[in-house]
Subunit: 461 residues, 2 copies
């Protein structure tokens, strides 16, 4: 830490003109040095998590976050700050308790999944049917779960890239619907996570058209493993394991969400805009620091650094997306309203606040020189070129699907699924130095793509 | 890990007579090798945490743990297994919620402290008065907290030895009484812990004779730090911070607890007995794995290893203590009933399941040769001699105060206060290999002290 502080101080001590000695207003080295001595991003995520806290999509708290965001983005000097509202169907959490009642006893830490049905306030007590994996649940015969609580305990691999979330998140996304189709009264899953704390990982699930939602919830990982030990003993002794669940979430009907938009106007509107951001909504258990307070902070702080260095050629549009967690409603509403036209490139930060270690691209052949320039500018920071194709991030998925270019600055997510969607997603999990490193990488890329002379506009397919 | 497994397998492959080649039935090297390949201790703590779980002193769950313990200790082959019951005043937890209501909003993770009063089911809403340290609370003028909620946010240092608990635990042990004397309506403290999870650390507190108990609870550390950030902002803006507390614990009157006793009868009853153990009760938030399932498991597994190797000279008395957490009631009841007579030495395991790294003594000059023998036998395990005076552990405090000798096998507690008294005190926190190392050290010392030819009986002062 001492070394880091000394480097940061050294950066501050350098006279600015020396940093920008090549004459570019958006010189990568100059932007990086400024970013590494700038705590704008940390200030945003600190204020958002403290003054607003949890901000579940479609609720009053998300609306309060939008008001806060408009004021903050205006204060930062961005232009055209406004909200684009949209309607959504909103689910809210209620009471949630789980207790093993036979053959052992034990209160377990549990959280309902988004779109879970309610057990009613008096709860539901039933026998548990255990599935080691999602594939085992898939293989259960039709009707075999009638009146039972399905329990799927599916471990997740820790990865740097987060690649395991697609596979192991399946149990949360798809498990409840499958259990419902087989007649289950409810389902509990091992949290989709990699930690060992008594903090369940919530997250969205969905039931297919015509399938009645059932109560669906995640146990903390220590609780899931304790339940497995109980099941092993009970099975040995020929006894059923029973659980009492009380979950009272509810659908509150149609409410309003919205995307908060702010801009750095470019000198050449015809060159198209660079769309960047993170999502403003969060799950309700934590304060939404790494998911995705960090992302809104990183993207806006980087845009501000570029803005402060001088007007870019392309407009930079910062969007703090609404209602990502519950179905990417903000990204979908935006794509419907705006289409791809005029969007040169999209980048999102939505994987925490870990060090950026890799960059992936989705660019046309004609942008090869720009891509090389980006790789070369990031290399001094120890960021390498990945082999993947950039997605542009979850909120930009709908517009990238329409042909918009994308770059992904990949964050180190080794610890991300220790915290993701849990009460533990709080400010203390963010290392200010890592956040600065993110902003430095973002400002570097933004400085290049916002000024590149090439044609980046989407082409009709 | 691979190396460790190979060593363990190598140990198993050695013919036992070779290990005990010096002819001693309790040869330290032989006991260590057996212990490092033995999962008896892990089996005890796994079964206790799974089949019984939390076992708050004085409750039905502690009684269930005693029944379980008697059966287990008998099955292990110990002699004279019995319960020595005693009465105690018992406190139980109720509902517990905390919510900041002004000028920001936010639900906080909180747990009542033992002996906390109730707010009543409708709760208590009041302004917070912030104290950075316990010394600041001590300095508050009499009556200055009337109708307010005191908040003391006192950070704790991480140490290997746990030495910081004495100093920093003061806020929990003494803070509520001090706040009550100054008129506070309630008190919330930053958890006495070193982690950053949304899991509050409970623990006992006491109110002085004539002081009416007030509601007293611990916030998780991320919540305490968030509250401090809110207070900084509110103070800047000249606004009060208000909190709503709902805590409904209650005193349920006199109930029964008990100490569970088991013995390895020695060949020379006149030489006095070796008193060892851990405490069977636990706080109610976790499953009591490291505090103190590990301790009861380590002490009993070591005694069994010694017993299985051959009859020792001295009787080994294993006590799984009742009601330690809430006031060392078991240790006090035992000392009152038995006194010091016939007790040659006391050792307790009650600091988790980390590696034993140091040994401390409280022995007479006449036992110098035995002490050297112990130091020499532990040195090959990398366990060094400490400079402290052994306490004998919390439950043995009352009898050690009467003049009984003591040895402390010091566990590495660097992470102990991440878990201590939290919901996170669960089986997964125990490394089976570290538990074996503990048993190996314990069996080593037991083998020596149970057979030492010297006079270890307490002397009248």
């Amino acid at each position: 830490m001492r070394t880091r502080i000394l480097l940061a101080v050294a950066a501050l001590a350098l006279p600015f003109p020396l940093l920008a000695q090549n004459g570019m207003v958006h010189d990568p080295a100059a932007l990086q040095q400024k970013a590494l001595a700038d705590d704008t991003a940390y200030g945003i995520v600190e204020d958002l998590t403290t003054e607003i806290g949890p901000r579940l999509a479609g609720t009053d708290r998300e609306a309060a976050a939008r008001d806060w965001a408009v004021a903050r983005l205006k204060a930062m000097g961005f232009a055209n700050v406004r909200v684009e509202p949209f309607d959504m169907k909103t689910w809210v959490r209620g009471i949630e308790t789980a207790e093993v009642t036979a053959p052992y006893t034990g209160a377990m830490h549990i959280s309902a999944l988004g779109n879970s049905a309610s057990t009613g306030p008096r709860g539901l007590e039933a026998e548990i049917v255990y599935f080691r994996t999602m594939a085992d649940l898939d293989a259960a015969p039709a009707g075999s779960l009638k009146g039972k609580i399905a329990f799927v305990s599916h471990k997740m691999t820790r990865t740097q890239s987060g690649a395991s979330y697609g596979q192991f998140g399946d149990v949360r996304r798809r498990g409840p619907n499958i259990a419902a189709t087989k007649g289950a009264a409810a389902i509990v899953i091992r949290s989709v996570g990699t930690d060992y704390h008594r903090n369940p990982h919530t997250g969205g699930t969905n039931f297919a058209e015509g399938i009645s939602p059932i109560p669906a919830a995640a146990l903390s990982i220590p609780d899931a493993e304790n339940l497995e030990r109980m099941i092993r003993r009970a099975t040995r002794d020929g006894k059923p394991v029973k659980m009492k669940l009380v979950l009272t979430p509810r659908q509150i009907g149609t409410t309003q969400s919205g995307n908060v938009i702010a801009e750095v106007p470019g000198s050449d509107p015809a060159a198209g805009m660079i769309l960047i951001g993170g999502h403003l909504d969060s799950w309700d258990l934590g304060t939404g620091a790494i998911d995705d307070g960090a992302g809104v902070a990183i993207s806006a702080a980087a845009a501000k650094l570029v803005m402060d260095a001088g007007q870019p050629k392309r407009t930079i549009r910062v969007v703090w997306w609404g209602a990502e967690e519950v179905g990417i409603f903000g990204g979908k509403a935006y794509a419907e309203k705006h289409g791809a036209t005029g969007h040169a490139l999209a980048m999102e930060s939505d994987f925490g606040a870990g060090r950026i270690w890799q960059v992936d691209f989705r660019l046309p052949e004609s942008a090869a020189a720009m891509q090389t320039k980006i790789v070369d500018a990031l290399a001094p920071m120890g960021i390498g070129r990945g082999r993947g194709v950039a997605s542009g991030g979850p909120d930009h998925g709908p517009i990238v699907a329409l042909g918009v270019n994308a770059i992904d600055l990949q964050q180190d997510g080794t610890d991300y699924f220790d915290l993701h969607h849990t009460p533990d997603d709080t400010l203390d999990k963010i290392d200010p130095q890592m956040l600065r490193q993110n902003v430095a990488a973002w400002a570097t890329v933004l400085g290049i793509v916002a000024n590149d002379p090439g044609d980046l506009l989407p082409k009709a397919k």
